[in-house]
């Protein structure tokens, strides 16, 4: 049986499979399974049973999310599926692999998702810089339309679906699902208040599901090979495989499909090839820039949502950023703060005015002009930018590496102030 359903067709030494090649590798089988007599309720139940959780970062159960879409007589007729392909989380490049390597998998998954919520129109909101993915997706969509996997009355089910690829003008905040919807509507990419959730009032005020690329790519396997197969993929408490990535000074940084629940140590050493010679692992962010630092003492923890949460961080995108002992942690955090401050949409006060202050302080620290007062202000901002304070999750995401970093690298911060320069630059 297939053990790497997300990447089984991906071979970066060649282009992606064309539709014939994709079909011969069990491609579009799930749609044929549906066409044989599954209705949207059946598919929803299978997705719920699979235990699939959203791969965008929050890890919310996908089936549950879909079940909030109003259905039945009183529900709005028009619904939308939106795929969040605006991959901009620092250190994250997993969706790119999927879209560049096997675009048909995403399209097949989208048909399943759209069928389940009965959305006749779907959008792929694609990061503007992903030009290779854009080309691959557009080509694959044309192929799928020609074969009748998209368009009117797909495989005789009576279900219609059009997919539009929308390339983003480029803001990190567009990865926030409601800001993404505003951007897609041509409005300023500010997040929206929740409730109402997009499942009730989303794109153009209609019920909308926004899912991450990787989440959607899990669907064809679940329908084609079944829930039991899916449950057999995992080593831990969460189900399915997941793309994990490593960036930073390991020997072989990259992105791999692995079962959930592997020990972190195994991933870093087996797949990342261990630290580069002469460098020690100092700490790491387990799931992109918006997660709390973890330490070498956590290396034996299993990589799944719950285990990572137990030590106060988040699996999030599953793409680790490694900090070694020769790189300045203050500089690393400062770099992240510069990013988050720049990407704040400017809607709510703590994020809009708090993050730039934090960013400025990091620049002062770097230049050797930092003070104890600045450090105090940084500490205050950890709480001020935290969950529940701001309008969306951007600032709390930024507060995660900041807060954990201030604790873990306390001495490094103090040395920047007492030594009036960055000690790593000597």
């Amino acid at each position: 049986m297939v053990s790497n359903p997300l990447t089984k067709n991906i071979d970066m030494s060649r282009g992606p499979l064309d539709i014939a090649g994709y079909e011969s590798a069990d491609g579009y089988q799930s749609l044929k399974t549906i066409a044989k007599g599954l209705n949207s309720v059946d598919v929803l139940q299978q997705v719920k049973d699979s235990g699939l959780k959203g791969r965008g970062g929050a890890g919310f159960p996908t089936g549950l999310k879909w079940s909030f879409v109003p259905s039945g007589d009183g529900a709005p007729v028009q619904k939308y599926l939106v795929v969040n392909a605006d991959e901009m989380e620092p250190g994250t490049f997993k969706d790119r692999l999927l879209m560049e390597g096997d675009p048909h998998l995403l399209i097949e998954g989208m048909v399943i998702a759209a069928f389940t919520i009965q959305a006749s129109k779907a959008y792929i909101f694609l990061r503007g810089e992903y030009v290779v993915a854009e080309k691959a997706l557009k080509h694959a969509i044309a192929e799928a339309e020609a074969k009748g996997y998209l368009g009117k009355d797909i495989l005789g089910t009576g279900f219609d679906l059009d997919i539009v690829v929308h390339t983003s003008a480029g803001r990190y905040i567009c990865g926030e699902e409601t800001a993404l919807l505003n951007a897609l509507e041509g409005k300023r990419a500010n997040p929206r208040a929740k409730p109402p959730f997009p499942q009730v009032s989303g794109l153009w005020g209609k019920p909308t599901i926004v899912n991450n690329v990787e989440t959607i790519c899990n669907l064809p396997g679940i329908i084609t090979y079944g829930v039991d197969w899916y449950h057999g993929l995992t080593k831990g408490s969460d189900h399915g495989t997941k793309l994990f990535g490593i960036s930073g000074k390991v020997k072989t940084p990259g992105c791999w499909e692995l079962p959930l629940g592997l020990p972190i140590r195994q991933v870093i050493e087996e797949y990342g090839g261990g630290m580069q010679d002469g460098l020690e692992l100092r700490a790491f962010l387990p799931g992109g820039g918006s997660t709390d630092f973890m330490l070498p003492e956590h290396l034996d923890i299993a990589l799944d949502y719950d285990e990572v949460a137990k030590v106060g961080s988040r699996l999030a995108t599953g793409t680790m950023i490694i900090l070694d002992d020769k790189t300045c942690p203050v500089g690393m955090i400062g770099n992240l703060m510069k990013f988050f401050a720049h990407e704040s949409c400017g809607f709510c006060t703590p994020c809009r005015d708090g993050l730039p202050w934090v960013d400025t302080i990091f620049r002062e620290l770097e230049a050797g002009r930092g003070s104890e007062k600045d450090l105090q202000i940084l500490h205050e901002h950890v709480d001020y930018l935290g969950p529940g304070r701001t309008f969306c999750a951007l600032a709390p995401g930024a507060a995660a590496p900041l807060g954990s970093g201030l604790k873990i690298f306390k001495e490094d911060f103090e040395r920047h102030i007492s030594g009036k320069c960055c000690p790593y630059k000597k």
């Binding site: 401050a341 400017g346 709510c348 005015d353 400025t360 001020y384």
Partner: protein, 909 residues
């Protein structure tokens, strides 16, 4: 109601509102910025954070934004919790990071919501020591100043300007701490309601340029409750005066009328009252020169006009822009039979029709608050944005009732502003507009029928016919049948339908509108139908009620021309704006003696034998009756230091008593005005004769104000005629909020303090009234016959256009309004223009009429019809109903530059 606990105290609150609004309604102090009482919540500023506890055992609680939290039964809240206070002080600290702290030179200083909230939130020490963000400011036109560095990014301006007022040229730009609120490029802010930005902005980003140029601190302004004289809506205002001149006008909250907002004509059109052209002295014309008259000469001259003292007939011509008292005093002087209308004959016919319909019990004349409740609206021929602007702003809220309905269905609270807008998108309650041209409301209109006036009358009557078999049935052309049926159905199925018409296109459209409303009422058991009938001027209704139907202006001019009357007193009126110039010339030349009482020189005062200077609206106490029949009292703000008196003071013997006895006489004498005196303040509230001060308790420099003229300190002026005093002494209005000029409350120095005076947020002012509806509706009316005949004697059927800046006589004499005015223009279709080889902006001549107009080629206008806008120089009442035109070689003076309409064709057409 929900029972909640705030800091250990039990409260009963409305669960349909958000927690912040309910806290304010309870009189609690909770700081906020982005929330606005009538714009709901978006949760941007995070300033109103409070702690919510799960239950009584929860001692930690969770931080929530009050504005985004619905109160639920049993909820436990703390405003005073240290964690909440600390978060709020962090928020204000970061809001103030780049604020320039230029309070000493900021127009907002002393009435700044940001200043108040900064103190209230506990930020008094500046820790931020890095570089500030700075912005470039923009030129936004003659009304609004822009100082972006003061911005705290609360998003209120764009939420007001774009979302609430339907503007399209102000936006939030850039992101993070560089967010910028401005236009895409420098230029005049297009919205007719841009002035409200000044009050919506919690600090000094958007400022009133007319005020900046004559700046005075809020507490140094002498103020009184006033009524805007710009149109028939009668918005409540607070003019502020210092050193004898008006410095600005701000909104005065009236829950039924204007709420929180004014139009730009009303806010910025006051400059004429400080014009150096104002008459200072009584004048007598002797040959070509005018001589100043002394008081005794004035008295004997006036005696000569009194009906008691002269055997020749004296007639009086009143004015719709003058107060009820001025018109009534004139009527007393000359006798009711000799009191004539000061409106044009066409308008007078419409006004009398409206008066009759306003007594009909089948209809209800809706207030602005009621207009906002309409869920299907039909406008019959009236361009409300230009004739009664505040109503256009209200209609933009009415069309959102559909959104509110959808929100209720989806259980999204109505105050969740952004969410409700997202949900509804372009789903609106139906607004249908019948007009000769595209109006400024077309972006929210469901249907627009653009046609000539007679054909619009047919269309409207066809709707009435479709609604009821009892109404006259009129055939429309096949292509319009579906539209007739659709609009009829929309009105019929609405919970609160509204029909709007007005006098600007003549009486036939009003009749058709009334027929529609009557037909709608037939099928409904739930009371009178909202029929909003608009007259153009502040007291059109009041003046019409004082004159008999026969006493038109035409009849007055004929009396003078024929010699039947030989003396005439004209009060606050320029007859050349009301009647064909030839007829006015003839009548005035024939008159033996002509007395004109007015503020500014006009073509009419130029012909007068005597001119008496009268006070401007803010220099007198007076009452006006608005389009609904709502009488409102406008108090005197400041004294006129020249010899001007209010018109009624010149004309009435009882000058020392104030308007009270005159109003009582008027109420007794004039049918329909019996309730007029109910707007007078209740004297029993004034303890020991203490008056309501016009000057704030911080008013400064009182003893030194005249020191540049002399070291002798003048005695404080005594106002024997009013319940208000020209001083700081007295007791501010305790029992009657309608004498509340500007609100102030400890810690609340800005206009936001109004919540302390409202029964609840957005509610009626405590212990006040919103004016009194004087009309008795007890008449049984019938369907009216509508004439739909076209005048096909010439090529182009005319309809009239009005301009918010220009059509109102007095405001258009303010220099700042002049900058926004356009010259006379003729709107024609592309094809008609082409056939005459006329290009955009060309000069046009009307055959047989002396006039020069600019061509205004508009894509919406039907071939064979035209819309004319006449500036004050045109002899507009001589125009026939249809005209022939040709291209002219005359140069147009002002042109149409700056005209804001959506369907103007490009110049190369």
């Amino acid at each position: 109601m929900a029972k909640i606990v705030i800091d250990g105290v039990d409260y009963e609150v409305n669960p349909d509102n958000n927690l912040l609004q309910e806290c304010l309604s309870q009189g609690l102090d909770l700081p906020y910025f982005c929330w606005h009482p009538c714009m709901g919540s978006v949760g941007a500023c995070r300033q109103c954070a409070v702690i919510q506890y799960r239950d009584e055992d929860d001692d930690k609680g969770m931080l929530v934004m009050a504005c985004m939290t619905p109160p639920t039964d049993g909820m436990i809240i703390s405003i005073e919790d240290e964690q909440a206070k600390s978060f709020r002080s962090n928020v204000i600290e970061s809001l103030m990071i780049s604020h320039p702290h230029d309070c000493p030179v900021c127009e907002e200083g002393g009435e700044c919501h940001l200043q108040d909230m900064t103190l209230m939130s506990g930020h008094n020490y500046r820790r931020y020591d890095k570089e500030k963000v700075t912005h470039r400011n923009q030129y936004l036109g003659p009304f609004i100043g822009h100082e972006m560095n003061r911005c705290i990014t609360c998003y209120r301006c764009v939420r007001y300007y774009d979302d609430y007022a339907g503007g399209t040229d102000l936006s939030a730009q850039a992101s993070h701490h560089h967010v910028y609120f401005g236009r895409h490029e420098e230029g005049v802010l297009e919205s007719e309601f841009s002035g409200n930005l000044v009050e919506v902005c919690p600090t000094g980003v958007f400022t009133d340029r007319t005020f900046s140029e004559n700046y005075t601190r809020k507490w140094d302004l002498q103020t009184a409750p006033s009524i805007c004289t710009g149109c028939a809506v009668g918005c409540n205002t607070t003019p502020g005066e210092r050193y004898g001149t008006l410095r600005r006008i701000t909104n005065r909250y009236n829950s039924d009328v204007n709420g929180y907002f004014l139009c730009d004509r009303g806010r910025f059109g006051y400059g004429y009252s400080s014009s150096d052209q104002r008459f200072a002295d009584p004048l007598q014309r002797k040959n070509e020169t005018a001589e100043i008259m002394d008081d005794s000469a004035v008295q004997s001259m006036l005696d000569g006009f009194s009906s008691e003292n002269t055997s020749v007939t004296t007639i009086g011509i009143g004015s719709p822009r003058a107060s009820t008292e001025a018109n009534y005093a004139l009527r007393c002087l000359v006798g009711a039979d000799n009191f004539f209308s000061g409106m044009s004959d066409e308008e007078f016919e419409s006004a009398n029709l409206i008066l009759q319909l306003n007594k009909d019990k089948a209809f209800h004349s809706p207030s602005i608050r009621e207009i906002e409740q309409a869920d299907a609206i039909l406008i019959v021929g009236e361009d409300v944005t230009n004739t009664a602007p505040r109503i256009a702003l209200a209609l933009r809220q009415s069309v959102r009732n559909k959104a509110m309905e959808l929100a209720d269905q989806s259980r999204i609270p109505r105050w969740q502003d952004a969410a409700v807008r997202e949900l509804a998108q372009h789903d609106r309650s139906p607004l249908s507009i019948l007009s000769g041209y595209k109006t400024r409301l077309d972006d929210v209109a469901d249907d627009e029928i653009i046609d000539s006036i007679p054909r619009l009358a047919s269309f409207a009557q066809a709707i009435a016919g479709s609604l009821s078999g009892k109404a006259e049935q009129i055939q429309v052309e096949d292509g319009q049948v579906a539209a007739v049926e659709k609009i009829a159905e929309q009105l019929k199925s609405a919970k609160r339908p509204l029909v709007i018409a007005g006098s600007s296109q003549g009486a036939e459209l009003i009749k058709a509108a009334a027929n529609i409303a009557r037909a709608l009422g037939e099928s409904r058991a739930d009371g009178a139908i909202d029929l909003c009938l608009l007259t153009p001027e502040v007291n059109s209704m009041g003046m019409a009620m004082l004159s008999t139907e026969e006493n038109s202006l035409g009849a007055a001019l004929e009396k003078l021309r024929s010699g039947e009357a030989s003396k005439v007193v004209i009060v606050e009126n320029d007859l050349y704006r009301r009647a064909p110039h030839g007829l006015v010339d003839e009548a005035l030349e024939k008159a033996e003696q002509c007395l004109v009482i007015d503020q500014l020189p006009t073509a009419t005062t130029a012909k007068a034998d005597f001119v008496l200077p009268c006070t401007a609206f803010a220099e007198q106490e007076s009452s006006y009756i608005n389009y609904e029949g709502r009488a409102q009292l406008s108090f005197q703000v400041h004294r006129n230091h020249a010899r001007a008196k209010s018109s009624w003071q010149w004309l009435s013997a009882a000058t020392e008593e104030g308007i009270e006895s005159l109003m009582h006489d008027c109420a007794d004498a004039v049918p329909g005005l019996a309730k007029l005196c109910e707007i007078l303040p209740d004297k029993s509230q004034f303890v020991g004769g203490m008056k309501v001060p016009r000057q704030s308790h911080r008013y400064s420099g009182r003893t030194a104000m005249k020191s540049h003229l002399g070291v002798h300190e003048p005695k404080q002026a005594v106002d024997s005629q009013s319940v208000m005093s020209f001083s700081m002494e007295g007791i501010s209005s305790q029992k009657d909020a309608s004498i509340l000029a500007s609100s102030w409350s400890p810690q609340w120095n800005s206009n936001q303090s109004i919540s302390k005076f409202q029964s609840e947020v957005n509610g009626e002012l405590k212990q006040g009234h919103t004016g009194k509806l004087v009309m008795e509706r007890n008449a049984e009316g019938a369907y009216l016959e509508v004439s739909v005949s076209e005048d096909s004697s010439a090529e182009l059927q005319l309809s009239r256009a009005h301009q918010i800046f220009g059509s109102d006589e007095l405001s258009s004499r303010s220099s700042v309004i002049k900058q926004r005015m356009v010259g006379s223009y003729l709107g024609i279709s592309e094809e008609d223009a082409r056939s005459k080889r006329i290009r955009q902006g060309d000069s046009i001549a009307i055959v047989g009429v002396e006039a020069s107009l600019s061509a205004c080629i508009r894509s919406s206008i039907k071939n064979g019809s035209a819309v004319i806008y006449c500036d004050e120089t045109m002899d507009s009442h001589s125009l026939p109903r249809s005209i022939n035109i040709s291209k002219s070689n005359n140069e147009v003076q002002t042109g149409i530059k700056g005209l804001i309409i959506s369907d103007l064709m490009d110049e190369d057409n």
